[in-house]
């Protein structure tokens, strides 16, 4: 997703294709009506060598990673960073407060004993991981983003109900409005529509 989508003062890249009315072409979307059809279309898109394309679906389709040919996300490693931040916060806070800033004699135990700290270390580790998994997931997905060229299409609103859409962006190296549309029809799309840029 280009940076210019988020920062209005950055000039967007020049459109490769424009419509008859002069609007830049964002891409092409093709509707599929059932899961199996969308899944097999994804396999054909992958084999045809498209790069900037996506399959929009109302639910996560099993095995779609392989059918679309993308790699597993690095999200878990980033979340692990959140876990370590939480653990470090808990260790630092409890140790500094209990052993340095406010040493309190409780049952004659050492001020810096680690055993009583384990509960809060665990809790804060979980808390930070949970925040990390939600917000890093959204960030990697480029969300929140409350407008999108696809959302202007009436047909596309059924994507959260029961329809599937294969979308090819105009900045894909092998994109061509006519050829790509024909290809999408050939692999079984029930409707193909040009998507203008917002």
């Amino acid at each position: 997703m280009p940076v210019s989508d988020y920062l209005p003062f950055i000039r967007p890249p020049k459109a490769r294709f424009v419509t008859e009315r002069g609007e830049p072409v964002w891409g092409v979307m093709a509707q599929f009506d059932d899961t199996a059809g969308a899944f097999h279309a994804a396999e054909k898109m992958r084999d045809a060598g498209f790069r900037r394309w996506d399959l929009h679906a109302p639910f996560p389709i099993h095995g779609i990673e392989g059918a679309m040919g993308f790699k597993r996300t690095i999200l878990p490693f980033l979340v692990l960073g959140g876990t370590f931040t939480g653990v470090a916060t808990a260790v630092g806070m409890q140790w500094w407060i209990s052993a340095i800033d406010y040493p309190l004699v409780v049952q004659g135990k050492p001020f810096g004993a680690w055993e009583p700290f384990t509960m809060i270390i665990f809790e804060l580790g979980v808390l930070f991981s949970a925040f990390a998994s939600l917000f890093i997931m959204l960030a990697l997905n480029g969300l929140p983003r409350w407008n999108h060229p696809l959302m202007r299409k009436d047909r596309f609103l059924a994507v959260t109900d029961d329809k599937f859409f294969v979308v090819v962006q105009a900045n894909d190296p092998s994109f061509n409005p006519e050829q790509t549309s024909r290809f999408l029809r050939d692999i079984g799309a029930s409707a193909v529509e040009l998507v203008e840029d917002a």
Partner: protein
């Protein structure tokens, strides 16, 4: 039959091929109670399409609810208001308005806290643990159980807050730098509890919200579609339910409000498969970390008692015993709420089948028996440990002045779930509901027995005192039930009650390899799985 793949049988049943198959004798069944292991019971009934699921679930949030909703909401909101008034009275007067005394310094307040936080554990259990074990039936109940968790934790959070007496000092429990240069004591289980409960509330909220993002997107797109078609333009108009006089007319239509609010919380979700992939990984991580979290939270709640030296509290069995009790009480509350909802909402029986209820009844039986084992083990250790104070504390529980509370607990928690050994009783929603009600009562008494009977007889007979609740005690608890039910009714009215996207993914129509050719490795037929993991 055995040569067929379970998904194939299910698909045939769903498409009508096997609808007439005989089911267990004499059962008023919806066809999901088949005991044949070769047949996987369908998770969604009546041959529903993907669009039907959207229509059913969104219908609850979009259409006017049944005539029962408003009177019930008015009633629970009134009860909730009484609770708020009682809390206000407590704060402006002092904890003396409760029946607490020198000896019994914790009574209904902490009983209510542990009761509600225990109920709050079923949501995360259903969502997280059943998700990790790939139990697909969780989709029928997980959303409402998660909602129930949030509302129960809200009710739980009220009580430790107000029982400190001077609530304006409640910030002392958090490690906040202050002008007195004092810090909380990190060796205290009460402080661990603050962190555990607030972490639990936050993580449960994130989990609940994350699950709802795709469903918010569905509600947003439906409202948007109606607006574009010009059919959703009628302005919101609130009329008096009795006289019909117009009370309020909003300058926007209901669909405009839906498109804005659901759209705001849907954060622009558009169903991209690349997004779904990261979403599923993130959801699995949340499930993975919530599972030890849910176990840790009630363990830490039990440390509030177990790390003291009081007879009846100072036992090592407390953490597992509390966790089992929490799951037990939480499932009972899920059943208590969903069995009536299933009757009151149209088509909910297609998504929440008798099989789902039976599964939960079995969990009640298992956890109820575990709790019963813990009760007997406490007695055994009190005798075997040879500590006379400990043994006295337990004899006093069963035969002392609070014997009625103890035996209420035993009959509700240990005896009543044993009815579920009978198939007829664990497949009938009415008997399940009655047992769930008894269990909820029993679990409240369990906490009362643990807290009050241990406190009212300390080491010296000169310290012995009784606890009697005042009307304020009682009305505060009743009020917390009102707050809980009010929030739950609002949830049923305005939010997606079922996880639509997850239900669609487990339906035969959601199988990318066509119906009848399953690829799910969890059912022992992993060999034909050709997907791209």
């Amino acid at each position: 039959m055995t040569s067929l793949h379970p998904d194939q049988v299910t698909a045939e049943r769903l498409t009508g091929g096997r609808r007439a198959e005989p089911i267990g004798p004499g059962l008023g069944s919806d066809g999901t109670l088949n005991e044949d292991p070769a047949i996987r019971s369908p998770l969604v009934l009546s041959d529903r399409s993907l669009h039907d699921v959207t229509e059913i679930v969104c219908g609850y949030a979009e259409n006017a609810p049944g005539r029962w909703w408003l009177p019930m909401f008015a009633f629970t909101a009134t009860v909730a208001t009484v609770g708020v008034l009682m809390i206000t009275y407590l704060i402006i007067t002092g904890v003396g308005v409760w029946g607490l005394n020198n000896q019994v310094g914790w009574a209904w307040d902490i009983t209510n806290f542990v009761f509600w936080i225990g109920i709050g554990h079923a949501g995360t259990l259903i969502s997280a643990i059943l998700c990790l074990f790939k139990q697909k039936w969780r989709t029928a109940v997980n959303r409402s159980a998660e909602a129930m968790t949030i509302f129960a934790v809200i009710c739980a959070g009220i009580f430790p807050g107000i029982h400190v007496g001077r609530i304006w000092f409640i910030w002392f429990v958090f490690p906040i730098p202050n002008y007195n240069y004092i810090w909380p004591n990190f060796r205290s289980p009460l402080l661990w509890d603050v962190f555990a409960v607030s972490t639990y509330a936050t993580v449960s909220l994130l989990f609940w919200y994350m699950g709802m993002i795709p469903d918010f997107a569905t509600l947003r797109d439906r409202a948007d579609r109606r607006l574009r078609a010009g059919s959703g333009a009628a302005k919101i108009c609130i009329r008096c339910p009795i006289t019909g006089i117009r009370l309020l007319k909003a300058p926007f239509s209901a669909d405009r409000a839906r498109a804005f609010l659901y759209g705001l919380f849907a954060v622009g979700w558009n169903g991209s498969s690349r997004h779904w992939h990261r979403y599923e990984v993130a959801y699995l991580i949340l499930a993975g970390i919530s599972t030890p979290l849910v176990l840790s939270v009630h363990s830490i709640v039990s440390f509030d008692f177990a790390t003291s030296v009081l007879p009846g509290w100072h036992t090592t069995i407390f953490p597992p015993y509390f966790v089992a009790g929490a799951i037990f009480g939480g499932f009972a509350m899920v059943l208590l709420l969903l069995i009536p909802a299933r009757e009151l909402f149209a088509n909910m029986k297609d998504l929440l089948t008798l099989r789902h209820l039976e599964n939960m009844a079995k969990i009640l039986l298992v956890t109820g028996t575990m709790v019963g084992f813990a009760y007997s083990m406490e007695f055994f250790i009190a005798w075997y440990g040879g500590n006379q104070y400990e043994l006295y504390a337990f004899k006093n529980r069963a035969t002392g002045p609070y014997w009625w509370a103890y035996w209420t607990m035993i009959s509700c928690n240990v005896i009543s779930p044993q009815l579920f050994w009978f198939r007829r009783l664990r497949t009938d929603p009415r008997s399940i509901w009655v047992v769930a009600l008894l269990v909820t009562i029993g679990m409240w008494f369990e906490r009362f027995v643990i807290i009050v009977t241990s406190l009212h007889r300390a080491f010296l007979p000169g310290e012995w005192q009784m606890f009697f609740p005042t009307p304020v005690d009682i009305l505060t608890f009743v009020g917390s039930c009102g707050i809980f039910l009010t929030l739950f009714l609002l949830f049923l009215r305005f939010l997606p009650v079922f996880p639509m996207a997850e239900i669609k993914a487990i339906m035969p129509q959601g199988d990318p390899h066509g119906t009848g050719h399953g690829h799910d490795p969890t059912i022992g037929h992993g060999g034909d799985f050709t997907g791209g993991h």
